[in-house]
Amino acid sequence: QTVLRSSDTHPDGYPTVEAVKRFGELLSEKTDGRYTVEVFHSAQLGQEADTIEQTQFGVIDLNRISIGAFGTQVPEATVTQLPYIFRSTEHFHNVLDGPIGDEILAAFEAVDVVALTYYDGGARSFYNSSKPINSVADMEGMKFRVMGSDIFVDMVAALGGNATPMPYGEVYSGIQTGVIDGAENNYPSFDTAGHAEVAKYYSLNEHLMVPEVLVVSKVIWDGLTPEDQAAMREAAKESVAYQRELWQAAERESKAAIEALGVKINEVDKAPFIEAMKPVYDKYVTDPALQDLVARIQATEG
């Protein structure tokens, strides 16, 4: 019996953590108990960039990770980190469940991991402590903490905001004291990080839907029989429905929790935000193959 160790930066009980546990159960069934999965949640084995390297070297076996953490290492995956590349959850699912999704998964082989499947990460929106954001003009001069990613920094700049570097752990007190005005994330993270205690405005501009991926180390993968490889792919695909179910429930619960804390949630007209992203696309989608990929994603229904 082999125990496969899987990393996750989210806390225990988070939809991705639970989905990987389910994946482990399914894999165990399909392989007659020869393979089981142990999830190390809460970044116990390191932050995302570290655990990617660990997976590549075969130190750990599996990794549930945000595509954003791969940065620009996998060009095809970079496309999914573009603001407003997905129009809706339905569009997001249609693209990733179809041939385009498989094409992007296959691209990960270039960085020594085998990508098994996508999970939902929800839509990310801006939140802050001073006012509801209704228009691009409202973003002017506001200080938002974003992840250390070029696309994020350029996106905030294109909206007229001030992308401020800050470690995630300091965001709570940063918003509380006014060092920054706010940050951006999905409902569950906004809720569980406690930021809703200090940032009372959550504006649904939904700039990003970054897919989560489950990857397996190529070191492990190459040692599996073709049957076990197939079992692993099947188990991963079968865990997706469960994750999506949990994700929707988590979003509902978090939304309720946020509202209970007195956070004002407002709808936003997204058209001007989408319009403002043109320079970001011009900067990151220069390669004809990527331009074609973007066009095909945009042409997908949903």
Binding site: F40, L45, G58, G169, S173
Partner: protein, 426 residues
């Protein structure tokens, strides 16, 4: 078996006298090799363990503390403290505690504080007929006040080790009352011991002179207001405040006091580099060790063990305190916080202990460990300044230990001492 390799290799190398960082690194290396996984992760964690933005506070506060010491900021604060409290019995002992309290409000390093306050106070105390052991013990215990009063980079390390979700601002505020309580307890102890030994008092210099001392120490005292005010009002973050402390210390010593020479500046820089490198290299190696502890699931196993022993929160806290005190005698504060927080924090949280409260308990507890050999860096510094052996200091330190342990007991079992003040700011 892998547990024996991890802890056995570490202990064996430590007994031989190998520097702690290498004990941690080699133990991790041996374990991962035994497990048959790529050893590369040990060196990856060595790097990423010391490369966090919040860790910048460590070099900055050490650098700032050194500049304040060499540039005369610390000396002026001590003169002021002497003017206001020197007339109490054992006056210079009181001055030492008061100066440590004031200095502790701008420095987060107990060693920097022991060096800064002790460097000036201990020779003076010896010259006035105080026992060198008394001077050393007051200095080393009072230096712990710096750990509790904001700023305190150890609290930042704690917040980080706790998963980064513990508000640093709350931790800083929570340390204030326990820090002042420790100051009072040590002041009383210093008084009682001074009376027993028949130490003299200092004459009160008069209000005019006291006011003069106050005036010249204002630029130094301002740093307390700048750091606390700056963080609370959102000008800069807690981490950034450490950098502001450096800039401010430089400005005051260069422009106001005009007391910092180029060669002293260079000494400060190189001294801060040495100290920081030593500390952060341990922190990096402790990250490798911590990674293996996580991989081997040491924390859940240990938690289960303690919960089979007792489920009474009072007993759990007592057990943890005893364990931390024991660990603290032979390990340094930073790595211990990093190694033990992920183990103990989830455990005490299950019993309803607030993470901010537990942070204060841990810092004070491990702080006492900084004054206990074999690895008692604060005591080493104080004893080195006082030119006495560690064993001479140890023989008469117990009244001060007792004071520290009483404060630890109060802080452990009266959560309000830590939690009341931060609750006012929410």
């Amino acid at each position: 078996m892998e547990y024996w390799i991890l802890f056995g290799v570490f202990t064996a190398l430590m007994m031989v006298g190998t520097p702690i960082a290498f004990c941690l690194g080699i133990a991790s290396f041996a374990t991962i090799v035994y497990l048959g996984r790529p050893a590369i992760v040990v060196f990856q964690q060595l790097n990423s363990g010391l490369a966090g933005f919040t860790l910048l506070a460590i070099p900055f506060f050490i650098f700032a503390g050194d500049l304040m010491m060499r540039g005369g900021i610390a000396a002026r604060i001590i003169s002021f403290a002497g003017a206001i409290i020197g007339h109490v019995r054992g006056g210079l002992g009181q001055v030492n505690v008061a100066a440590s309290t004031l200095f502790g409000g701008i420095s987060g390093s107990a060693v920097a504080e022991a060096a800064a306050v002790g460097g000036i106070m201990i020779p003076q105390m010896k010259a006035r007929g105080y026992g060198a052991d008394y001077a050393v013990n007051v200095t080393s215990m009072a230096a712990l006040i710096a750990l509790l009063l904001p700023p305190s980079h150890n609290m930042i390390i704690y917040s980080l080790s706790g998963g980064g979700r513990i508000s640093i601002a709350d931790l800083f505020t929570a340390g204030i009352i326990p820090g002042l309580l420790l100051a009072v307890a040590l002041g009383i102890t210093a008084y009682v011991v001074a009376v027993k030994r028949g130490y003299p008092t200092e004459p009160f210099p008069g209000f005019y002179k006291a006011f003069q001392y106050f005036l010249v120490s204002i630029p130094g005292l301002m740093l307390i207001a700048i750091i606390f005010g700056g963080v609370r009002s959102g000008v800069f973050t807690a981490t950034e405040s450490s950098c502001i402390a450096v800039i401010y210390a430089l400005l005051v010593t260069l422009l106001v006091y005009r007391s910092l020479t180029w060669s002293e500046f260079v000494h400060s820089v190189l001294g801060a580099v040495r100290t920081t490198s030593m500390v952060l290299f341990i922190i990096g190696a402790a990250a490798s060790f911590g990674w293996l502890m996580a991989y081997l699931r040491v924390a859940p196993i240990l938690t289960d063990l303690i919960s089979t022993l007792t489920t009474d929160p009072i007993m759990v806290l007592l057990l943890i305190n005893v364990l931390l005190l024991l660990l603290g005698t032979f390990m340094d504060m930073g790595p211990l916080i990093i190694i033990t927080t992920p183990i103990f924090l989830p455990m005490v949280q299950k019993f309803g202990v607030d993470p901010v409260h537990f942070g204060v308990i841990m810092i004070l507890n491990l702080g006492i460990g900084l004054n206990t050999p074999p690895l008692g860096p604060v005591q080493f510094v104080a004893a080195a300044v006082g030119k006495i052996s560690i064993w001479t200091a140890m023989r008469s330190v117990w009244p001060f230990y007792v004071a520290g342990l009483i404060v630890l007991g109060l802080v452990t079992y009266i959560p309000a001492l830590s939690l009341w003040l931060p609750s006012l700011f929410r």
